[in-house]
């Protein structure tokens, strides 16, 4: 039997990033355990390129598409009407943002043995039509019906689909987000009666909420609504859906882990019991990354570095706008953007266009994927302008090289730069925190550090000291090893 099955949405091993690196670190750090991976993707894709070399102790990788539906035959002798009733209850629950009776859903829509209809039948049945039109009349009768219908059908179909993911047996399950991954892990926990662990780097419910509130496509969908002075029903729907999924995962997770205090508070706000939340920070391999730095004063010209994927959530455009101001004060400065650009090519092109528009052509270079260890030595400051983060590993990796950081006030960035506890804060500041999406604030912070070699030096020392004291990779692996041991040795969380 597999020791630990990770349930991951859109991350390891096909998408690079902080969460993926963290998963890879745990797997390679515990070679004595076997791991399985359930990877949730948008749609099935043969020969999807791996972004990580899969370690030998990964014994299974199962890809599950959230949107490409597979029809499984219903259970023999199951009551179709009961499944429709459960379907109706599911629809109502998602609409309210509460899934009251998961056991009922599991029995009649999942692997509980009483599933009386296929996903396709449930989606096209007269019963589902009645349920949806009733909800529409009660909640959204001024909303575009076509948008309402397809939104509902899509969401319900995905939910039903994920209730039927291949039930891989394992000693424990580890979801690295709530949402769809949390649903799959909850379901696997229910099937096998083994513990479910939940670690959140960013708070999924919160991130989805931000995305939905900003989503232009939802604005387009609701264009008619503004004329009718109607609230955005579809926005409300999506937010409630992820809220319901979040609560479901929090309710069923046997242990919940957070990277830092801020996230813990958010998890509690979205429905987790604060008493069950533990903080386990990220860790980095200090020896591997550390090395001597050339003092700022001895540099030929100052270099600003950004390490990460060029995607909207990283808000690279704010960084480029900020660099325009930096460049006006420090004409020799250059900006090195270090990270893959292919994930969102449209966004990448927009960033390139912005660079051209601002006349920063030769000063801003997109390097693509690089050896960050080498680049941490070359740049003088790291800047992170993300609109959402958990505990960014790149900041910690930069700290190992003594690299000060300017970061937006998201996730645990403030804790990392200024310290979490009094003892930690006594180490000094390792950088400056700026407002989210604020180019001017970001620019002034960069200039303040780059124009003051002494400040830069003190921040560099504080960065090295903090990462050594609180964010050691070996310590993180040790903590998770004991978490897994405890979960694997438990007698089970549910008895039939």
């Amino acid at each position: 039997m597999i020791d630990v099955v990770f349930v991951l949405e859109g991350t390891y091993p096909y998408v690079s990033g902080g969460v993926s690196s963290w998963v890879q670190a745990l797997i390679t750090g515990m070679p004595e355990l076997t791991f399985g991976i359930v990877y949730l993707s948008e749609s099935y894709k043969e020969n999807r390129p791996l972004k990580y070399e899969i370690p030998d102790n990964v014994v299974c990788l199962l890809e599950v598409s959230v949107f490409d539906l597979v029809s499984l035959p219903p259970d023999e002798g199951a009551d179709r009407l009961e499944s429709w009733r459960a379907f109706s209850s599911l629809a109502g629950g998602l609409e309210r943002g509460e899934l009251d009776d998961f056991e009922d859903l599991f029995m009649h829509l999942g692997f509980g043995g009483k599933r009386g209809a296929t996903v396709a039948e449930l989606g096209t049945s007269r019963a589902s039509w009645t349920v949806l039109t009733e909800i529409y009349k009660e909640q959204a009768n001024e909303t575009s019906f076509v948008d309402f219908f397809w939104t509902w059908r899509g969401a319900l179909a995905s939910f039903l689909q994920l209730m039927l993911v291949k039930p891989i047996p394992a000693r424990c399950y580890h979801a690295v987000s709530t949402g769809w991954a949390g649903l799959v892990a909850t379901n696997l926990r229910r099937i096998h009666g083994r513990p479910m662990l939940l670690t959140e780097h960013g708070i999924y419910t919160n991130e989805r909420k931000i995305e939905i509130l900003k989503a232009e496509w939802l604005s387009t969908m609701n264009a008619r609504l503004s004329l009718r002075q109607e609230l955005g029903f579809l926005r409300k729907f999506w937010i409630n859906l992820f809220l319901a999924l979040g609560k479901l995962a929090y309710e069923h997770a046997d242990r919940i882990f957070s990277l830092y205090e801020g996230n813990k508070a958010l998890q509690a706000e979205y429905g987790a019991d604060p008493a069950t939340i533990e903080i386990v920070p990220n860790g980095v391999k200090i020896k591997y990354l550390e090395g001597e730095r050339t003092p700022l004063a001895q540099r030929e010209f100052p270099r600003v570095g950004f390490v990460g994927r060029v995607v909207p959530i990283k808000d690279v455009k704010t960084l480029i706008l900020a660099f325009k101001t930096v460049s006006a004060t420090l004409p020799d400065a250059c900006l090195d953007i270090l990270g893959p650009t292919e994930e969102d090519e449209e966004y990448f092109e927009e960033c390139r266009a912005l660079v051209g528009l601002l006349g920063l052509g030769e000063k801003v270079v997109f390097h693509g994927r690089v050896d960050v260890v080498e680049w941490f030595k070359k740049v003088d400051i790291q800047v992170l302008t993300s609109i959402s983060e958990g505990q960014p590993l790149v900041i910690l990796e930069g700290f190992c090289s003594g690299l000060p950081c300017v970061a937006s006030d998201v996730g645990s960035c403030r804790e990392l730069l200024e310290g979490r506890t009094d003892e930690d804060r006594a180490l000094g500041s390792a950088g400056l925190v700026t407002g989210i999406g604020n180019p001017e604030d970001t620019a002034q912070a960069i200039i303040a550090i780059l124009q003051n070699p002494e400040l830069h030096h003190s921040m560099s020392l504080a960065a090295r000291a903090r990462v050594k004291a609180y964010y050691d990779y070996d310590e993180m692996i040790h903590t998770y090893r004991s978490i897994y041991q405890s979960a694997m040795e438990s007698e089970g969380v549910w008895q039939a």
């Binding site: 299974c60 990788l61 597979v70 575009s144 019906f145 219908f149 291949k166």
Partner: protein, 473 residues
Amino acid sequence: MAEEQGLVGFFTGYSVAAAIMAGPWIMTVLTVLGVTMLSPDLDWFDAYITHVYQVSLITVGFFQFPATRYLADLLYKKEYRQVFPSFHYTLLICLAITTAIGSIWALTTPEPPGLERLVVLCLMNIVSAQWVSLVFLVTVHNYRAILGAFLLGGVVSIFSVNEYFGFNSNLDVLAGYTAGQALTLFILVGTLMSEYPAYQAFDKSCLAWLKRHPSLPLAGGLFYLGIFADKFAFRYGGWLSGEGIMGRQVLAPWLYMSEPYEFLTFLAQLTVIPALAVFYIRVETGFYEVYKAFYKGIDDRCTLEELKNIKQQILEEMKSGARAVASAQGVISLLCFLVAPQILPNYILSSTNTAILRASIVASYFAILLLLVIVLLLYFEFYREACFSALLYTVLNYVLTVLTILMSSDLYGWGAAVASCTAFLVAARILWVRVDDLLYQTFSKSPVETLPETVKGLPGVGRYRIQKGELSC
């Protein structure tokens, strides 16, 4: 035109509509009648013509609706370059089938002479090609060219029956008729080519609808099969009646005729032109507008209430349209029913034949209404319902005709009449119920596309990318 310009406009409008909807068919019927009347003793020629048209109509019938549907998609997407390659491919398939059927007959029948068989085979393919061309040409709206093609071809065909030139044998008349129809085909294809230049030979995807909706080709094929089901019962049902079926002749293996039944039903079918004209006008002016409004309403993100209101308008339009078609055609059919003896040529006039003609007029009345209902079912993409209606018609037409043959010659023709009436009533009811339920049918019934389950390993959703050993508890 009919609504805007008073009585003259009214007649002009309906005449144009009739010419558009039934022009090629009327021309063909008149040509065949012309040839038959000029040389009434050519039994073989009549049999050839009847069989050629039946085989070609039924064959093309299976491809007509899928090709029309695909063509609509092409035109919607403005992919005009694919039209001619699609025509090519559909033509190729249809000709392959008619050639196969014709060849089986030509190779297995001991008579007529080989050359005659060869000409019949050619004619069968030419006529099939004409129908396929028409399916594609309807989109061009060049009705003058279409009617001109049939008129010219018809003149040549009739002119070939001319004793002055010594053209009076079966082969002469057949060859002349074939030449005329080849000319028609030549003009039709030329018109199509001038409208849609070809940039590639074939577009094989044009028949994707055959696979995607098998009920769509079946609806067309079965309807034409239904039209001829009663003729088949008369023609091949010799064993049914101890006394023999009136007017039935066996010319050669596979070449049976049952006159005057076939001639009378043929004549009766000419009475339904008004229904086609009124339907065309109603669809073009009223129905299509509300039909379009419904789907535009979906595109425009209307609310459920707004969509329900448009659906109600569709029902109202269907109701008033049905009343207009049924009453206009009803008046004509009733008139023809009453004056049936006056319609018949002297040499065929008898009390039995009058009864058959009257029954056939009733059968044609309901058959054309059934066809129009099937067309509306296809408009709303209720393919299975259209297919069921056509199947019901085919089965009822054959079974009830057999029953009437067994019962009495006084009932000849009434089997087809009851069959078409029953099939029409059932189809109309289905259409009404489905359209009344249009929102559910449009939204909820649109299929949830699913992939097959991967059978590897545990049951459930997901695909293994890595799997080392068996996964077990």
